[in-house]
Each structure stands twice: as C-alpha cells, then as structure tokens.
C-alpha cells in the first residue's frame, strides 16, 4: 500500500506521450486572433503539427514555416526569417501577431532571434506604416521539455511582448485554463457568464470548433485578441487553472503588473470546481448563482448512480498532460475509481514535488505508482503485467493500441483524441465535465461488458 513516485529507467522512448516544445508553442500561437505562427525550422516541424491539430480538431490551422534547408544550416536562417515575416505580412493583411517559434535545428545553429525580430520590425514599419504586427520570440528547442513547456513558453512570451504596460484597471479576470479543449473553454466562459464575471480566457479556443456557413466564411481561429492580451496587465486578478500550462504567465503578470494571481488545482471533478468558483467569487465579490448550484447537484446525482455500483474499486491508469492526469486522478477518488498508475511524459522535475501529487500520496491506502518521464511502453508493460490488473485507461488516442490489443476499456481524454468524434467539443472541466466524463467512463465499461459478455445482464436493470 502507498504511492511510489518513479522515473522511467530507459534512455530511449517507445511511443511518446507528448510532442516536442515547438508543437506546444504552435498550439498557444494559434489561440490568438489574427495570428499565424512562423516556425523557424524544417518544414516537418510545422507540417506534422498542423496535421496533429487537424486530427484532433478536424479543422485546418494556419501555421507557416521558414522552410529551413541545408544552406541555412551552414549560413544561418536569418534571411528565411525575414522573408517569411514579410511574405506573411504581405499576403495576410489582417495579420497582427507572428509568434516566431524556434526548433531544435535553429537553436543548434544559434540564429539570433531577437536581432532578427528587430530587423523585421524595422522593415515592417517601412513597408507597412501605420500597421502593427507583433513578432513574438518563442525559444522552444525541441530537445528541452515537451509540448507542455512549449505551450507555457509561448504563452508567456506572447504576454511579455504584447502586455507591456499597466493601464487603467479593466475589471476583468484573467483565466489561464492551460492546454484544454474548446469544450472546456466554452464551459469556463459559461460559468463566468453565469457568475456575471467579465473574464478573458488565455487562449480562447472556442472557434476551434467552427461551422460550415452558407457564405463559406472560415471561422477557425483563436478568439483572444491583441487587446485582450494587452489588457491582461490591467485585470483585477488572474486564475491559473493549470500549474504547468500558463501558470508562469499568471505569475509574470503578478510580478510585473501586480495583478494578483491565484494558482488553483485544475478544475477537474467536483471539489476542484468548487474551489475555482469560490475563488472567482472571492476575487470578484460575485455570488455563485443558483444555476451552478443546480448543475453541481445534477452532476453529483448522475455520478452517484455510477460510483458505488460500477466504479468502486476499478483500477485506473491515467496518462497525458500533467495537470490533466493529476486532476483526473483527484476526480477518480471522488467517484470511487482507484487511480493506480499515473504516467507523466517528460522530465520536468517539478512533478515530483507537486502538492497535488503529494496529497494523493498522503491519501493512498492502495497501491499507486506515479511514473515520471514515462512513455506509453511503460503503460503497455504494466497493462500486460497481471499484477497491475488495470480495469480502465484514461488517456489520449496515442495510447489506443494498448487498450485495443489488451482488451482494456479506454476513455479518450486530453490531447489528441483523433480516434473518437467530437471530443474536443465536450467539457472535461467543471461539474458538467465531471458528469460527462463519468458517464463516458460508465458507458465505455458497459460496452465492454457487452462485447465480452461479462455480466452484461447487470444492465438489464440498474
């Protein structure tokens, strides 16, 4: 009994859980309105990330490349940066932000990003007088951290570049949800509306779920504007809802502009959502409305039908983004699921000291293992090992074959979830998210009982 925190022992990776830093930076970069990230590296560094986003969201996102070739490897990529910026500015007249994202190759070559940006700014000023394009330097060598840190790094750099001075207080709340789905962003925005709180979500990805319109207009882009970002410095407070995805930005706003920051547990499950709403209420002075109390009650009501009948004692393996995995492990405890294996996929040394993990460790009166720097081979080995008796996997679609091969029920959650339809639209946070996720887990277990003809008759009446 008890919780062991370990680290993958192998040097190499078989089936990674996360992509590299530039991928995360690109995700943050597309969350801004009128923004096209420019990835400084080989073409694959943006092409496959664009494909990944398309797989998950079933949408196209505009991301450009400096198309680094051998000559740049030898002579440096300066010209390609400057050409790329100018071509984007010329051909996209509405463009206002270009996150300039480095990669392993251009970091190894050592291109002077800041110097190039200065040159670009001068050239732009001359070519487009009266137009302001923010070129954001984003240093994301692929050989450090992962997409998780890359997301955070780009977000921070965007804020540093655009939110440059303190203005009049705008009465708004900054919300940093981390790398979440449009469904979560929509949920958070709805909660703020219901609380009558004016909030800005960094980044507002609601339109990553975008329509086919009769006029053929394309709406697939971030909603967070340059003004929103500039205004972050003037907010009444920041809520950091993810420790590893944007927490540094909220912290920066506090340090630089005295915008008070509250670091919260990610609002997965009932109690974490309670804490979020109570924090919003405390900061804004607005009461939690009856509508959310009712939604909370409906979620608890729905989960109560499932918890002790179907979930109790089920052994769960979780993998994915760290804030998600930890938050879902907390949710599992609320509904009597037993998180026995948490896999975190990069070498961030902070995970081991995360207060939420320490709290789980303190509570664990069952066998629990947290594997840091894990890959999905660590999952597969444990799923194959009868000692682990994994009953359920919660994770993203890159782990799909572990579930398929070993006939373990798996609920897709996190990023990417390309082998299920519509998940990006569904919330996982908040009361509704907890309920929807609980019901997805139940329905996945039910289908599994039926396929395997394993007590499927239980469901004749429950």
């Amino acid at each position: 009994m008890g919780c062991e925190i370990t680290t993958k022992e192998r040097a190499g990776v078989i089936n990674p859980m996360y992509d590299c830093q530039p991928a995360g930076a690109q995700f943050a970069g597309i969350g801004i309105k009128d923004s096209i990230p420019l990835v400084h590296g080989g073409q694959g560094c943006c092409m496959f990330v664009r494909l990944l986003f398309a797989q998950h969201f079933k949408e196209n996102f505009d991301i450009a490349s400096t198309s680094l070739h051998e000559d740049s490897a030898v002579f440096g990529g300066h010209k390609r940066i400057q050409d790329g910026v100018m071509v984007l500015a010329q051909r996209y007249p509405d463009l206002r932000v270009i996150p300039l994202i480095t990669t392993c190759s251009t970091e190894v070559i050592g291109d002077d990003i800041e110097g190039n940006i200065a040159q670009c700014n001068a050239a732009l000023k001359e070519a487009f007088p009266g137009r302001k394009i923010h070129i954001v330097p984003v240093h994301t060598p692929s050989f450090k951290g992962s997409q998780v840190g890359g997301y955070s790094e780009c977000l921070l750099s965007v804020i540093k570049t655009i939110a440059t001075h303190k203005g009049a207080p705008n009465g708004k709340l900054n919300l940093f949800p981390g790398w979440v789905n449009p469904g979560d962003v929509m949920l958070l925005k709805r909660y703020m509306r219901e609380m009558d709180v004016d909030a800005t979500v960094f980044m507002d990805t609601e339109d990553f779920d975008s329509p086919m319109m009769p006029d053929k207009s394309i709406h697939t882009h971030g909603r967070t504007t340059v003004e929103d970002i500039a205004g972050a410095a003037n907010a009444i407070g920041s809520l950091a809802l993810a420790r590893y995805e944007g927490g540094t930005s909220a912290q920066y706003l506090q340090t630089e502009f005295e915008v008070p920051n509250t670091q919260l547990n990610s609002p997965y499950g009932i109690a974490n959502t309670d804490a979020m709403l109570q924090a919003v209420s405390r900061i804004t002075g607005k009461p939690i409305p009856e509508s959310l109390v009712r939604e909370r009650g409906i979620a608890i009501d729905a989960l109560q039908d499932l918890a002790h009948m179907f979930f109790a004692g089920k052994r769960v393996a979780l993998f994915g983004h760290p804030d998600l995995v930890i938050g879902l492990a907390q949710f599992c405890l609320e509904v009597e699921l037993k998180p026995v294996l948490l896999l975190l996929g990069d070498d961030n040394s902070k995970y081991k000291k995360d207060p939420r993990i320490l709290d789980l460790k303190a509570k664990a009166d069952w066998d629990m293992e947290v594997v840091c720097n894990a890959d999905l081979w660590e999952l597969e080995k444990r799923v194959k090992n009868p000692d682990y008796q994994i009953d359920l996997i919660l994770g993203h679609s890159k782990g799909r074959y572990v579930a398929i091969e070993h006939n373990i029920p798996m609920v897709r959650v996190g990023f990417p979830t390309f082998d299920r339809a519509g998940l990006y639209r569904k919330p996982t946070m908040g009361y509704q998210g907890a309920m929807d996720l609980g019901e997805s887990i139940a329905n996945t277990l039910f289908a599994h009982m039926e396929f395997n003809k394993d007590r499927e008759w239980l469901l004749n009446t429950w």
Binding site: V13, C45, D62, S67, G84, M86, K144, M213
Partner: protein, 472 residues
Amino acid sequence: MPMVLLECDKDIPERERHIYLKVDGEDTRDFLPISNAPTIPGTLSERGCSFCGAKLVIGGVLKDTIQMIHGPIGCAYDTWHTKRYPTDNGHFNLKYVWSTDMKESHIVFGGEKRLEKSMHEAFDEMPDIKRMIVYTTCPTALIGDDIRAVAKRVMGDRPDVDIFTCECPGFAGVSQSKGHHVLNIGWVNEKVGTVEPEITSKYTINFIGDYNIGGDTQLLQKYWDKLGIQVIAHFTGNANYDDLRGMHRAQLNVVNCARSAGYIANELKKRYGIPRLDIDSWGFNYMAEGIRKVCTFFGIEEKGEALIAEEYAKWKPQLDWYKERLKGTKMAIWTGGPRLWHWTKSVEDDLGVQVVAMSSKFGHQEDFEKVIARGQSGTYYIDDGNELEFFEIIGLVKPDVIFTGPRVGELVKKLHIPYINGHAYHNGPYMGFEGFVNLARDMYNAVHNPLLTLAATDIRGTTAATSLEAAE
C-alpha cells in the same frame, strides 16, 4: 499566358514559374512548371521534410523493423499515427515508434551513447524483433553524431540483428522527396544482395513504389498469386526487412511510384541488370495494361487475359454504375506528385471525371512532364501550391471534389467542397480493379452528399430549399 501569376501571389512573383494553365496544342516543350525548388518562407506550403520522406513514407512501412529515430521526441511523435498502411501481422509498424529522446546535454556532449543505449533497450524490450532502421534528424546531423558507427557496434554486440542507417535530416533537400532518394540509394548500397531469397516460381518480380496504403499491396498480391508470379520484395508495402535484402534476385522490377522508388529500380538495373517496367496500378485501363505488360514479359499472356476478364466481369458493372453517376464531375488532385499523373487520365477514362486542377508537393520535372502529357487543357498544374493559391484556384475552377490530405480536406470543407483522402484513401484499397471501384464509390459518396446542399442553405432566407413542412 499559360504560366499564371495568381492575384494572391502578386508579392511573390516568382510563383508564376510554378503554375501552368494548359492550353490546347501546348505541351511540355513549351511550358513546364519549376519544381523541386526551395519553398518561399511564410507561404503556407504543404510540404513536409525529408526525414519524413524516408521514415514515414518508405522505411516505416516495414512490418518487422524497429524505426529508431535519433533526435528530439517530436520527430518520433509526429511520424506516428499519421499513415494507413496495415500489415498482415497486426500492424506492428503502426503501433510503435522509437526515439532517442535527445536532450540538451546530448546536443552539447554528443548523442551517440544515448543512441547506442536506446538501440539495445529497444531490442531488449522487443525480443522478437531483430531488424532496425536508424534515422538521423536535424540536430543529430548538425552535431555530427556518427550513427553508422553506432549501428556497427550494436551489430557487433548482437550478431542476430541487422541495422540500416538513414542519414537524412529534415532540413535536407526541399521536400520529403530528398528522403525517398536517400533511403533508396542507401538501401541498395548497403542491404541489397545480403540475403538470398527462396525462389518458388519461375516468374519473379519486385514490386516497387507501393506502400500498402489501405491494403493496396495485399489486393495486388491476389493478382500475382493468380498469375503464379513470385514477388520477392514489395518495396515496401507489408514487407519484411529481409525481403528487401534479396531484391537483386528478381527478374523484373515493376515500378508503381516512380517518384519515391524509381531510384532503386534504376540502381537495380544498373548493378544487377534487372529490367525496369513502370506501370500504373490505379484504374481499370491502366491496371489491365500493367498486367498485360508484366505477363508479356514472362510470356504468360493468356493467364493475364484470363485474370483481366475475370476481374472485369466482377467489377466493371459496378464501375459503370458509378461512372454513369460521376461523369462530368470536376476533380482536383493536391497530393505528393505521382498520383497526379497516375489518376488524371484513369478517372477520365474509367469514370468520366474531369481533373481541373492539380498541385504537387514534391514532384520533379519528369512528374510534370507526365501529368501535363496525360492531363487536359484548361487544367491548372501547380508545383508546391500554398493555401492562398488553393483558394484562388478553387474560385477559378470550382471543383466538385478534391483529392488531398485530411487537413486541407477540413479547409476546403468550409467552402462546401468534399475531399477524398488522396494520400491514405477514405476506404481503400484504391489500386487494382476492386480498388478503383472503391475509389469511385468514395467519390460518389463524397459528391452525392445531402449535407453539402444543407450547408449552402441560409435558413434565414425566405426561399430556403429545406422547408420541408409536412403536408397534412
């Protein structure tokens, strides 16, 4: 003005040399788009990198081989779960990807030890697997890790394994095409001739440039079986690593994708004197012609005719059903390169479909020669098309369906144009007779789609077509 400067390209006029609008009476003596040239930065091109050309397109297809990617994690992560080439052993190739997960300290101090350890680990963790390809990536190439030396050491330590190395970082060349080339030549240099295949038929071929997309290889294998022809190596659909080491023993190289694998066919001819026979495997006319050519080579024409007759009897009525309903459909093809010329005439002849625009990501001059020769007048032929160009071309030619990748598919969907996955297929295989019926079916389903009509309807209009109030 057969070379076209689009409105969106006014600030990058060099793009005029990449876009050709064919006019009656012209041919490639007059105009040929520039191709295989560097991409203009910031243009939102569709190109990938040369590493993916080697790993994702060719090497990663092998069904018994560890693909060890020496680099940061992204190169592995991104070339996994992006392809549809199943195998008959449960898709080992689709399930796993391997990385040395390079970190900063390895960039500083060198990554060879990391690579060596990762290779041993991979063989230890998967003891049934004895073959490996090691790839460099941008940073490991830049720091100069010697992956060949490492592979040699590991083979020394493990006599039962064989390892191939592919040094083709992402920044090499201008597109994935470079990766095809590097892998082709490397393989013939180092691996062909190192295994003697068991010969079971008097007719032997290699089938080159087919990656079992959607099951293509497995479908065509039925034909070879019926014809009594032994395929020594599929390069590389559903193939084992060692199959490809015995390619020198085939009597004939039958080449489907000349762009990605013509190199090895040429080398096999040069070094081993094996003749090269190019065929098209998509389309009834082409497939029949291909079978005839192969059978003629072996002098088994009657077998070929019997096979063709049998397949026609089985599939032609279905094809014709679709042809009846597809004729006049306007199609665009935005894929890698060769499929432009494989498909443009086959869809015209077999399905009555008009190809109105084509864009190639990595085609070379010879690809444009072929496609312009086979393609129609009034059609646009584009090298390395980018997003704004696509929009403009769509406005010009108004295609009914576009064969392209899923991301671009999602983009053109907003314009109410359905796409078919031109790389991985919607519901393949698409090769052979049955496959072309599949293609026709998928195209029919894409084009005859009530959602497209619904999407175009503005329900706030007074004359909405969808007002279906029931009669009492």
